[in-house]
């Protein structure tokens, strides 16, 4: 742990290794971004991309970068960062390495909202709005049901699993109610896709991230680290455990809901990114900033793979993260089991 003291009396503490991981992951994300911006039907070299980004380039290049490729990339980075942050918060709050929104029912809730719109035949904007409403509503239901003089980690997990199971049934039913074309669109959304994402999709998520991330990173991170020690220990050092848990849950649910609204419930980023960050930084506790950078790099890389892995055939990014995440999950389950931590 290093400390920087400014002349004004402000001190910032940080772990050099965690900072390094964060910067490294951010650079990796930027690298993926550079490749993603430069590749496609109209290939551009890295220098061309950089020149276009700094205001130069031809009109065609300007159009391709700013209107077609950049919005998608920005959405990918934001969704990755938001999901990773939410996943880190969930895993800290329920004190379990598997406590991600995929498993606790929040993404299923967002999906239910979106599917209702698909069945009723609404626009993409209505779909995004409904995903947010569904995710937040599910968060509220789970919190209320799990509340019993405070929300306990394990009760939250079990309630979340139950709600997820109910919503999975409801979602499957809603899928059967839609005409085939709409159902295909819905499944695409449910898988998580960045295809054709524009500034409309990135905007609201960016707004939420700009408000929530600093609040969490600056305001709550030290207290969250205390809470990982257990409620009693945290209370003993003066952390307002209940209020903080509510605030952090609300923040996490907001992030998940808006990320789902932007790109669909992309699987496993929220689960995997915090783990990778933790392994890379080798630091205990929630590695919030490093997780966000890793999440952004993960999704940008996965989207690049999804677009370019099969020539002439684009996969939705959720398929790539699902496959990567599934393999990682099985490995994780085995490791955690062996270490007796699960």
């Amino acid at each position: 742990m290093s400390v920087i003291r400014t002349p004004g009396g402000l001190s910032v503490r940080f772990r050099p290794r965690a900072l390094g991981v964060g910067v490294g992951a951010a650079l990796l994300a930027a690298g993926f971004g550079l490749v993603a911006l430069g590749s496609g039907d109209y290939p551009m070299g890295p220098t061309d991309v950089l020149r276009t980004l700094t205001g130069g380039g031809t009109v065609a290049e300007q159009f391709i970068v700013y209107e077609l490729r950049l919005p998608r990339l920005v959405t990918a980075l934001l969704v990755g960062a938001a999901l990773a942050l939410a996943g880190t918060l969930f895993q800290s709050l329920v004190r379990n390495p598997l406590g991600s929104p995929d498993i606790l029912g929040f993404t299923q809730g967002a999906s239910t909202g979106a599917l209702v719109v698909v069945v009723l035949g609404g626009s993409s904007l209505a779909l995004a709005g409904a995903a947010v409403v569904g995710g937040l509503g599910t968060g509220l239901v789970i919190y209320t049901l799990a509340w019993r003089r405070g929300v306990h980690g394990y009760r939250l997990i079990l309630v979340g699993i139950g709600v997820a199971a109910i919503l999975t049934g409801v979602n499957g039913y809603l899928l059967t109610r839609a005409p085939l074309m709409d159902a295909a669109r819905a499944v695409l959304w449910l898988t998580g896709s960045l295809d054709g994402r524009g500034w409309v999709n990135a905007g609201p998520l960016l707004a939420v991230l700009v408000v929530v991330a600093p609040l969490v990173l600056v305001g709550c991170a030290p207290a969250l680290r205390m809470m990982e020690l257990g409620d009693d220990a945290a209370s003993a050092v003066g952390v307002p455990v209940r209020r903080l848990r509510l605030v952090l849950l609300a923040a996490a649910v907001l992030l998940v809901s808006f990320a789902a609204a932007a790109a669909g419930p992309v699987a496993f980023v929220a689960l995997v990114a915090p783990h990778l960050a933790k392994r890379l930084t080798r630091a205990p506790g929630p590695n919030l900033l490093a997780s966000m950078a890793v999440g952004a790099a993960l999704l940008a890389g996965a989207d690049l793979l999804a677009q370019r892995a099969f020539a002439g055939h684009q996969l939705p990014v959720g398929v790539v993260t699902g496959v990567i995440g599934g393999g990682y999950l099985v490995w994780l389950l085995a490791m955690e089991r062996r270490a007796g931590r699960l």
């Binding site: 394990y154 295909a184 898988t191 496993f268 599934g326 389950l333």
Partner: protein
């Protein structure tokens, strides 16, 4: 010795606590030879009477399942449709309602019994083939077969479903079961597998519109496409699974005391576990192949039944075998009535009915910390 034997017969109910159930004192059973015989006999009579009542309930629901549908039939018509080849109702009853009802009976029994033996094996009151990902494993295998290998008939499905179910059963037990696993851990391992496998299934549906059209109806869990060929196809698997499961009742009772005590009583823990995994695989794989993944039946019924019979599997399993199909068929009838003019798929009805009960179960007691 006599104490041990008596405790075998009344193994304590699994609880949400992480503490091994073994350490609990057995519920107060009067010692043999003293005042015991009348009350023991009385209890057996009560249990038998209860079982007969349950069978009667099932019969009523079976009749309802044949009578209720797009075309509601009076009982007399159902009867003549069943028996008389020249009756106008013959085709409806024999081609549609009867296979549907039979499939509901088979699948319900399979899921209920599988849930009961799983709960006993893992000492986990939250174990359910749907929640632990076993149905999802079968679904993923079926989706693979349908999309990549062109296997679309239930006849081919079954083998893939069994394969998928077997893989996940082994995996979830290896990962989340075994000694020292809490219910929450097991549920979490299952939920994680569920999330993975369903994301795979939706990826498959996405890549192939034809699979989407078939699988989106199948993945909800429905009895609507039942025909007699389906019933014949899954019948042997479910029968064998049931026999194996019933055979494990007594040794599983012993296993509830812990491996050492079970060994002392002459049981072989490894063999029992293998038998239960085989039974669960056969039952869940076949049921899922035929009707799609159906959640909560295997959780709910053993739970409700345990309140009636206590944890002795020799009573628990027969009750489950009767009441689980009653629940499944009841949910199916309800879905047909509520969903008119179409129908609500039975998987959706059981999820909506069973979910709240699950939530009640996990919220009513203090939750154990690992």
């Amino acid at each position: 010795m006599s104490t041990a034997v008596r405790r075998v017969a009344t193994t304590p109910e699994p609880t949400l606590d992480a503490t091994p159930t073994v350490t609990r004192p057995a519920p107060s059973v009067p010692a043999r030879g003293t005042a015991a015989p009348p009350s023991r006999r009385g209890r057996r009579a009560a249990r038998s009477a209860g079982l007969i009542t349950a069978v009667a309930l099932l019969v009523v629901i079976v009749v309802l399942s044949i009578a209720v549908g797009a075309k509601a039939m009076p009982l007399a018509d159902v009867w003549s449709g069943l028996l008389h080849r020249d009756a106008t109702e013959y085709a409806v009853v024999h081609k549609m309602r009867l296979p549907r009802t039979l499939l509901g009976l088979l699948a319900g029994t399979a899921l209920g019994v599988a849930g009961a033996v799983m709960q006993a094996l893992t000492r986990n009151p939250l174990a359910d083939p749907g929640l632990l990902g076993i149905n999802a494993g079968a679904s993923a295998a079926v989706a693979t077969a349908a999309a990549f290998l062109g296997v679309t008939a239930v006849g081919g499905h079954v083998w893939f479903a069994l394969l998928g179910a077997a893989a996940v059963t082994a995996l979830v037990y290896a990962v989340g079961g075994g000694r020292g696993a809490t219910p929450a851990r097991l549920a979490l391992a299952g939920a994680a597998l569920n999330a993975t496998l369903y994301s795979y299934v939706s990826a498959v549906m996405l890549l192939d519109t034809a699979s989407l059209e078939r699988l989106r109806f199948w993945t909800v869990g429905s009895l609507a496409n039942a025909d007699s060929a389906t019933v014949r196809r899954v019948l042997p698997f479910i029968l064998v699974g049931l026999l194996v499961a019933l055979g494990t009742a007594r040794p599983l009772n012993a296993l509830a005391l812990g491996d050492d005590a079970a060994r002392a009583l002459g049981a072989r823990p490894a063999l029992i576990r293998a038998a239960v995994i085989v039974a669960v695989t056969l039952l869940c794989g076949a049921a899922t192949a035929a009707c799609g993944p159906i959640v909560f039946v295997g959780l709910l019924v053993p739970h409700l039944v345990r309140a009636l019979t206590g944890p002795d599997l020799r009573w628990l399993l027969p009750y489950c075998a009767v009441l689980a199909p009653a629940l499944l068929l009841g949910a199916d009838v309800l879905g047909r009535v509520l969903g008119r003019p179409g129908e609500l798929q039975v998987g959706m009805v059981t999820a909506v009915l069973g979910g709240p009960l699950f939530l009640w179960l996990v919220t009513r007691r203090p939750v154990a910390q690992p």
